[in-house]
Amino acid sequence: MIGFPHRTARARQGSRSIREGGPISYAILILVTIISLLPLYWTVIAASRTNAEITRTPPPLTPGGNLIPNIRQAASQVDMVKALVNSVIVSGSIALGTVLFCTLAGFAFAKLKFRGSTVLLIIVLATMMVPSQLGIIPLFMLIAKLHWVNHLQAVILPTLVSAFGVFLMRQYLSQALPDELIDAAVVDGASTFRIFRSIVIPIARPAMAVLGMLTFLMAWNDFFWPIIALTSQNPTVQVALNSLGNGYVHDQSVIMAGTLIGTIPVLIVFALLGKQIVGGIMRGAVKG
């Protein structure tokens, strides 16, 4: 730069400016945070006020005291309690099953040698790109044939397949699991399953936790397949929300109360484990 004799000083200054966030950075972040949280905050306001209050101009900006009656009314329209219980069962089973199956397969792909492993791994990777939604018609015909329509297993079993999970566990285990440990166990005469139970699982635990949280979140929020496989007689939270939002309930505050109950549990869990989930997404991104 012209007229700038101290290049090193300039460079030091430049490298520091890379690292520190200025007031504009904070302004942008605060704005984005507000935009991210505002719809959720509005849900709380609308769910806790009467319909007359939220249609006023200007709209209220603080929560009111009508939450319980609104929830009662929402629960009389759709079975929110059953929906919450079903969602916990469905998402919990999917998370547990996915973590188990993906850890098994991820371990095999990371550390075991077997014929066809490359081809099978390519199949796994290819399915990460194939949209599963497009298979829902035969899937529906299948569960209709099995008489599973409106039963929870219709949602649980097809969702247990997670190519992403296999890939994540494979990447994690090929780095975190030292070959020497397995060698030592083999020397001691341990079977592959014994190795899996006593060595692989303890080491894989952090990645299993991340995969479990992400899978639970995705299963909880899954929409397309559950509204096809289930009805409002035996709903998950999303199926219940679908019937609430279908337009047959006209009370805004009641709809918002239902939405709030269906969303709050997962948001609380998310706020508590947010740091780990953020770390999991970022780690998955680098390796993916």
Partner: protein, 334 residues
């Protein structure tokens, strides 16, 4: 992929020779090492073939038949009728156009904003965990909940957005009934839910960029903006391609947002089909008109569209790249 389990039939160390189980039957040990890997991958692949691959392939077969929702076991061969019917259906072309415009309106601003946001998040900040978690909250909110809330926010008479615009003198907009307004509204729901998530993915990639690159650029007198353009963006190339592909696939399948945004008329994509996407059309054909065969033809067509869209996007991204970095292109040619 590395293998690490040595063949237990060849005792190579004294420890192994001395170990308790060294004398166990050779045959069963060999059998175990050889076949247990298949047992490890079997649960995944069984489920995958039954509920992943089979439905996808079978969709093509179903699409050549007339099948109704009421009696899924009764399939009548109709050849390519479902496809010719689809290609002559104005609703299909309408849905294709809507999927494209909503896809562009949601994906492009979303990825650009995510990129900028990731850049800001990459600074040393106070409370950075808070910011990261806060902007991931929309991702944790379900599609159904987000869409219901936004549908209320975009309400014509009492919606918060119209109230906000009213302060600036904009007259009440009927978001849901308009062609563009409804598509813009739906795009903002998608953008709201996914921007933070993509920002985190970009941030992860940015943190892998070596610090020296920035220092070298700073020594050469590059401003922050120049550093962003000339150091950050090139380093993120594979990640950007990845997010473009994933967003393209997601946008082609868009379903829940338009369906719920429309309330009662959601499965038609609005009273005038003004925001009916291909995913919604498929649902309408199958579960409101009970024609699973036609819905399958739509699904298979969507699959082909996704393949083409991903290929085109990947090609455009690569072309755009060369335009961005002519020097690399010249070097590649030489």
């Amino acid at each position: 992929m590395q293998t690490s389990i040595p063949n237990p039939n060849e005792p190579s160390t004294p420890a192994e020779a001395m170990s308790r189980r060294a004398w166990r039957p050779r045959l069963s040990a060999r059998f175990e090492t050889r076949f247990s890997p298949y047992a490890f991958v079997a649960p995944f692949f069984l489920l995958f073939f039954a509920f992943g691959l089979f439905p996808l392939v079978y969709t093509a077969w179903v699409s050549l038949h007339s099948v109704t929702l009421q009696n899924t076991e009764d399939m009548t061969w109709v050849g390519l009728d479902n496809y010719s019917r689809l290609l002559h259906d104005p609703l299909f072309w309408n849905a294709l156009g809507n999927t494209f415009t909503i896809g562009v309106l949601s994906t492009v601003p979303q990825l650009l904003m995510a990129l900028g946001l990731a850049h800001v998040l990459n600074y040393r900040l106070r409370g950075r965990t808070f910011f990261r978690v806060a902007m991931l909250m929309p991702y944790a909110t379900s599609l159904a909940a987000a869409t219901i809330v936004f549908a209320e926010l975009y309400g014509r008479d009492y919606g918060l957005i119209n109230w906000g615009l009213g302060i600036f003198g904009v007259h009440h907009i009927s978001w849901e009934t308009g062609n563009w307004t409804s598509q813009i509204a739906i795009s903002t729901i998608v953008t709201w839910r996914w921007t933070g998530y993509n920002a985190l993915i970009y941030l992860a990639a940015m943190q892998a960029v070596p610090e020296d690159l920035y220092e070298a650029a700073a020594i050469d007198g590059a401003s922050r903006w120049q550093q962003f353009l000339k150091v950050t963006i090139p380093s993120l190339r594979p990640t950007i391609l990845f997010t473009v592909v994933v967003s393209t696939i997601g946008a082609t399948q868009l379903f829940g947002e338009p369906l719920l945004f429309g309330g009662v008329s959601g499965h038609r994509g609005g009273s005038d089909h003004q925001y009916q996407t291909l995913g919604v059309l498929l649902y309408d054909q199958g579960w409101f008109n009970f024609q699973l065969g036609r819905a399958a033809a739509t699904a298979w067509t969507m699959f082909l569209i996704i393949v083409v869209a991903v290929a085109v996007n990947a090609f455009l991204a690569a072309r755009g790249w060369n335009w961005w970095h002519p020097r690399e292109r010249r070097a590649a040619r030489a």
